[in-house]
């Protein structure tokens, strides 16, 4: 019982802090927001000149930030490698030698 009361008080405190933080966030749709700075304007103006494709999102993820996407592909590779390393021990169709129980 006392644990529940403590947990509720902790959650309420945390919620208050988080709500207080959201009040400091920039207003939605405000032209002075940090998302509307010169960086996004530069992408929108120069994308045809720089990358020559109409899709700005693809231009950013595979040209401006291609190095980042390479890291993302590596993350996928590492994830699947670790999953196979863990699961291949248990499955019957796992290729190679099975570990002895």
């Amino acid at each position: 019982m006392i644990r529940r009361i403590v947990a509720t008080i902790m959650i309420l405190l945390l919620g208050t802090v988080l709500l207080y933080m959201t009040s400091e966030m920039p207003r939605f749709g405000d032209p002075a927001n940090p998302t509307n700075n010169e960086l996004s304007a530069r992408y929108m103006e120069d994308v045809i000149e720089d990358v020559n494709i109409p899709n700005i999102v693809t231009a950013i993820i595979t040209d401006y930030r291609a190095y980042d996407t390479l890291g993302e592909a590596t993350v996928l590779f590492a994830a699947i490698a670790s999953v196979l390393a863990v699961l291949a021990m248990h499955s019957d169709s796992g290729r190679g030698t099975k570990l002895d129980e």
């Binding site: 899709n55 693809t58 996407t69 499955s91």
Partner: protein
């Protein structure tokens, strides 16, 4: 699952889903979409087949070993495309100026973006399928 309606509808829908996935991957630089989205659609079509018809038959369509090979090879394709510009004396993963880029809005425009998107699509599809088959086998045993 042995439901006749489900299996028939899946077999009719499969080619359309796959064509749509390939469209999303190939047009990643012209319309919304790209390697990650299109690859997931392609992988989902195989998963749908495995869930409704047969897991073994789905593995026959896209064998596990091939999926793992495609997955590793596509990262390699990405790195090699980046290394081409390094050999030409520019920065790693430089695109325009190294790779040809015809008129804006055509399929081959954007230099190495289409090959990179293709590699990412193949990789994501293989990853999704491999994850599914291994987790499914795990559940069965």
């Amino acid at each position: 699952m042995n439901d006749f309606v489900l299996q028939t509808v899946t077999q009719i829908l499969m080619p359309f889903i796959q064509v749509y996935g390939i469209f999303v991957v190939l047009n990643g630089h012209l319309s919304p979409g790209g390697g990650f989205a299109g690859g997931t659609i392609l992988g989902a079509s195989i998963i749908l087949y495995a869930l409704t018809v047969d897991v073994k038959a789905a593995e026959g369509i896209y064998p596990d070993e091939r999926a793992e090979m495609v997955e590793s090879a596509s990262v390699l394709v990405f790195v090699l495309l980046g290394l081409i510009s390094l050999m030409m004396g520019r920065n790693f993963l430089t695109n325009i100026g190294i790779f040809p880029s015809p008129e804006t809005g055509t399929l081959l425009t954007g230099g190495f973006i289409m090959p990179v998107t293709l590699a990412i699509g193949a990789k994501v599809a293989s990853t999704v399928i491999t994850l599914f088959t291994h987790l499914f086998e795990e559940k069965k045993s």
